[in-house]
C-alpha cells in the first residue's frame, strides 16, 4: 500500500476515535492502533508508546477533578479551599476514560505514522511538505541526543535523575537541534535544494489496494460519526 493511503487510514482511525461517543468503540479503535504500533521495532516504539500512555493516563486521572458532571458519586473527598469539595462521579469517570482513549488513539496514530511509514515516498506525494519530513525525524533525533547527553554525564560519574535533572537537558537539546538544523540546511543547499526545475524519482503506480484504503478510510470516518 502506498504511504498516502496508509496515512489516510491512520488519520481516519484517529478521526473516528475523536468523533465516536461510546467508550467501547473508542477503545476498539485505540486497540487497533496500538496493535499497528506494536509492529515497529521494540527499541524505537518504546518512547512513543510510553509518551502516549503517560499523557493519556494523566488525562484520565485529572479529568474527574476538573469536570463537574453527573449525579452518581463514586468517591467524595475533602473540601479544598478555592476548589470546593472534591468528588468523582461515574459520569466523570466515563468522560475521563473517553477523553484518555481519544488521546491515546491520536498518539498511537502518530506513532504508527512516525515509526512505520516510508516518509520519503509519502513526501514525494506531497512535495511541498519536505520540512514536515524533517520535523518527523526530530523526535527520534531528540531521543538519541538526550540518551547521548545522559551517557556523557554518566561517563563523568554523574547520574541524571528526577524531573529537575532531565529538565536541565532541555536547553542543550534545543541548542543541539538548532545546530543540527543549520548543518542540514547547509548540506541541502550544497546539494541543490531550492533550485528551480526539480524532478522526482518516478512514483510507483496507484494500485487497487490504495484506492480501497482511501475508501475504507472514508467509511471509517462516516461510521465513527454516525454509528459509534
Amino acid at each position: 500500500m502506498r504511504p498516502a493511503a496508509a496515512v489516510a487510514l491512520l488519520a481516519a482511525l484517529a478521526a473516528a476515535a475523536l468523533l465516536a461517543e461510546h467508550v467501547w468503540a473508542v477503545a476498539v479503535v485505540t486497540a487497533v492502533l496500538l496493535a499497528v504500533c506494536l509492529r515497529a521495532p521494540r527499541g524505537r516504539r518504546r518512547f512513543y508508546l510510553l509518551g502516549t500512555a503517560v499523557s493519556a493516563g494523566a488525562l484520565f486521572l485529572l479529568t474527574p477533578f476538573i469536570e463537574t458532571i453527573g449525579s452518581h458519586p463514586v468517591w467524595t473527598g475533602p473540601i479544598v479551599p478555592v476548589l470546593g469539595q472534591l468528588d468523582v462521579t461515574r459520569e466523570e469517570v466515563t468522560s475521563a476514560a473517553l477523553n484518555a482513549l481519544r488521546l491515546a488513539a491520536v498518539g498511537f496514530a502518530f506513532a504508527a505514522y512516525a515509526l512505520l511509514l516510508d516518509h520519503d515516498r509519502l513526501l514525494q506525494t506531497v512535495r511541498f511538505a519536505r520540512p514536515a519530513a524533517l520535523a518527523t525525524r526530530l523526535m527520534p533525533t531528540l531521543e538519541r541526543d538526550a540518551a547521548g547527553f545522559v551517557e556523557a554525564l554518566r561517563g563523568r560519574g554523574m547520574e541524571v535523575s528526577g524531573v529537575r535533572g532531565r529538565a536541565a537537558l532541555l536547553s542543550p537539546l534545543l541548542a543541539s537541534s538548532l545546530e543540527r538544523g543549520m548543518n542540514l540546511a547547509e548540506a541541502m543547499e550544497a546539494r541543490g535544494y531550492g533550485r528551480p526545475g526539480r524532478s522526482n524519482v518516478p512514483r510507483p503506480p496507484w494500485r487497487a489496494i490504495d484506492s480501497a484504503g482511501l475508501l475504507v478510510a472514508g467509511a471509517i470516518v462516516i461510521t465513527g460519526k454516525l454509528w459509534l
Binding site: 521495532p41 521494540r42 527499541g43 516510508d118 516518509h119 520519503d120 519530513a133 524533517l134 525525524r137 527520534p140 547521548g148 547527553f149 551517557e151 556523557a152 554525564l153 554518566r154 561517563g155 563523568r156 560519574g157 554523574m158 536541565a168 537537558l169 542543550p172 541548542a175 543541539s176 545546530e179 543540527r180 548543518n183 542540514l184 540546511a185 547547509e186 548540506a187 541541502m188 543547499e189 550544497a190 546539494r191 541543490g192 535544494y193 531550492g194 533550485r195 526545475g197 526539480r198 524532478s199 522526482n200 524519482v201 518516478p202
Partner: protein, 447 residues
C-alpha cells in the same frame, strides 16, 4: 584554464574579529587532487565552503577577493546553482543526510538538479556501486555505521557527476583499511578533488598538490613531493608523530573483564568471551575495524554498559570520553561545563582547560568552539574528575597532528595515577601514546 580559482580571498565570519581566510590565492586544475592541511581552525573548512559558494551565501560575513568555479563567480550564483558543478562531503555524515533510505538519499541531489526521472535511480545505484556501497541501496540510513554513512555521502556527491569534489575530513570515522579504500576510490574518479585531512599520510600518497594553511594564511602551495620536504622541515609532526617515549610501570589492575559477552537487543553478540586487564600506570590502545565492538568494550570497561554474561571488575572511579564532543555542551560557559564533574569548582576547571590548551576560553560558549576545540573541552571535562580508569573513544577525531602530540604528552603525564584505555582508528596516534595495543579481529583478541 583552471577549473576553480580563489584570488586574494579574505573572509571573516559574522561576529568574528579575525578573518578565517587571509589573502588566499589558489588554482585547481581539472582532474587534479589537492590536499589541504592545517591546524584546527586554520581555515581549511572555510576554503572548501568558499569553493562551494556557501561562503558567503549561507554563512554571511565579510568577503573580499574573488572565487570562480567553472568560470562562474561564486558571489553571483547561489550554492544550489553551483551544485552539480561542485559537490561537497562535510565532516559529519550524520548531519548531511536528508532522506531515510540510502538509494533515495543518493537520488536527492539528482532530483534537485532536475535529472530526467527515469535516470535518477539508475544513476544513484551507479554512484553507490562506484563507491562500493551498492549493497546498502535498500537499507534505512539510520541503521548504517559511521563508515557506511561516509560512503553513502560520497556516493551522493559522486552521483551529481561534479567537476569539483570538496571533501572535508572524509575519512574521520573510517578504520585504516576503510580510509585507504575510500581515498583510492576518490583518486580513481575523473574529477578535481579538494580534500582536507587531519591524518595526512594517506592523502599525501595520492595527492598531486598540497596546500598548507595557518591561521587563514596559505603557507604552502606545492606539488606533493616538494610538500613532503617542506612538511619535514617546517611541520614534522604532520609526517610522523613523535615516538612514544613513555616507559610504563604497570601496577595493580584497575579494571578486569573476564569472559565478557554482550549483544545489543535483536542482534548477534558484539563482544564474545573477552578477557582484558587494564593496570594502573599503563596506556592501552584498542584497535580494530569498524563494527568490531571497540566502543562497546570501552563502555563495558567504563561501566556504561553491563555485560550479558562474564565479569567486569573495577577499582576506583571510571570516566569515559565519548566519540561525539557535542555531548559535552550542556552548560553555557566552557569552565562551567568542565566544572560539572567537580561540583562547580571553577578553579579546577580553569586549570584543566589550560592544560588542554584552552586557557582563556573559560567564558566561551561550548557551541562556539571549533570541532577540535570541542574535542579538547570534552577531554578536559573527563580528565578533571581524576579517574582511576580513563577510557577515551576516538579522542583524535578532528584533531590536528600538533594537538595529537600534545594529547599524547598530556596522557603520559597523568598515566601513573590511572589506567588508560584509548579506542582509536588512528594507528599513528596509537603508536605515539600507547604502551601496548589490543587489536580486535573478527575471530579473536590479540594482546
Amino acid at each position: 584554464m583552471a577549473l576553480a580559482r580563489a584570488e586574494c580571498l579574505t573572509f571573516t565570519y559574522p561576529e568574528s574579529a579575525a578573518p578565517a581566510l587571509r589573502d588566499v590565492s589558489v588554482e585547481i586544475e581539472a582532474g587534479e587532487m589537492v590536499a589541504v592541511f592545517g591546524a584546527s581552525g586554520s581555515g581549511k573548512s572555510t576554503l572548501l565552503r568558499a569553493f562551494a559558494g556557501l561562503v558567503p551565501h549561507f554563512h554571511g560575513g565579510r568577503f573580499e577577493g574573488r572565487v570562480e568555479v567553472a568560470g562562474r563567480d561564486t558571489r553571483c550564483v547561489r550554492p544550489a546553482e553551483l551544485a552539480g558543478t561542485v559537490a561537497s562531503v562535510f565532516q559529519d555524515p550524520e548531519e548531511q543526510v536528508v532522506l531515510t533510505q540510502v538509494a533515495r538519499e543518493v537520488a536527492f541531489g539528482l532530483e534537485n538538479l532536475g535529472a530526467a526521472p527515469n535516470e535518477i535511480l539508475p544513476r544513484a545505484h551507479h554512484a553507490l556501486a562506484a563507491v562500493g556501497a551498492e549493497h546498502l541501496a535498500d537499507r534505512p540510513v539510520a541503521e548504517l555505521s559511521g563508515g557506511e554513512l561516509q560512503r553513502v555521502c560520497l556516493a551522493s556527491a559522486v552521483a551529481l557527476e561534479p567537476q569539483l569534489l570538496l571533501l572535508d575530513e572524509p575519512t574521520s570515522q573510517l578504520d585504516p583499511e576503510g580510509a585507504d579504500a575510500f581515498l583510492e576510490l576518490v583518486a580513481e574518479l575523473d574529477v578535481a578533488v579538494l580534500v582536507s585531512e587531519q591524518r595526512p599520510r594517506r592523502v599525501l600518497e595520492r595527492a598531486d598538490r598540497v596546500l598548507f594553511l595557518e591561521r587563514g594564511r596559505l603557507l604552502l602551495d606545492a606539488p606533493a613531493s616538494t610538500a613532503q620536504e617542506w612538511l619535514r622541515e617546517n611541520c614534522p609532526r604532520w609526517l610522523d608523530l613523535p615516538a612514544n617515549g613513555h616507559v610504563s610501570q604497570p601496577r595493580e589492575a584497575v579494571c578486569r573483564l573476564r569472559q565478557v559477552q554482550f549483544g545489543y537487543p535483536a542482534g548477534l553478540p558484539v563482544v564474545d568471551g573477552l578477557d582484558l586487564e587494564l593496570a594502573r600506570g599503563e596506556i592501552v590502545a584498542l584497535l580494530g575495524p569498524n563494527g568490531s565492538g571497540k566502543t562497546t568494550i570501552a563502555k563495558l570497561a567504563a561501566g556504561l554498559l553491563e555485560p550479558d554474561s562474564g565479569v567486569v571488575e573495577r577499582r576506583g572511579r571510571a570516566a569515559m570520553l565519548l566519540q561525539d564532543p557535542s555531548r559535552y555542551c550542556i552548560r553555557e560557559r566552557a569552565d562551567d561545563e568542565v566544572a560539572l564533574g567537580v561540583r562547580g569548582d571553577r578553579g579546577r576547571a580553569g586549570a584543566m582547560l589550560a592544560s588542554v590548551g584552552l586557557g582563556g576560553f573559560e567564558e566561551r560558549h561550548p557551541r562556539d568552539l571549533s570541532c577540535g576545540e570541542r574535542e579538547r573541552l570534552a577531554l578536559a571535562s573527563v580528565l578533571v574528575v581524576e579517574p582511576d580508569l580513563l577510557v577515551l573513544d576516538e579522542p583524535t577525531r578532528g584533531v590536528d597532528p600538533e594537538r595529537k602530540t600534545e594529547l599524547a604528552s598530556l596522557l603520559h603525564e597523568g598515566a601513573e595515577r590511572r589506567a588508560t584505555l584509548v579506542v582509536t582508528h588512528d594507528e599513528d596516534f596509537a603508536r605515539a601514546v600507547a604502551d601496548r595495543a589490543v587489536v580486535l579481529g573478527r575471530e579473536a583478541v590479540y594482546v
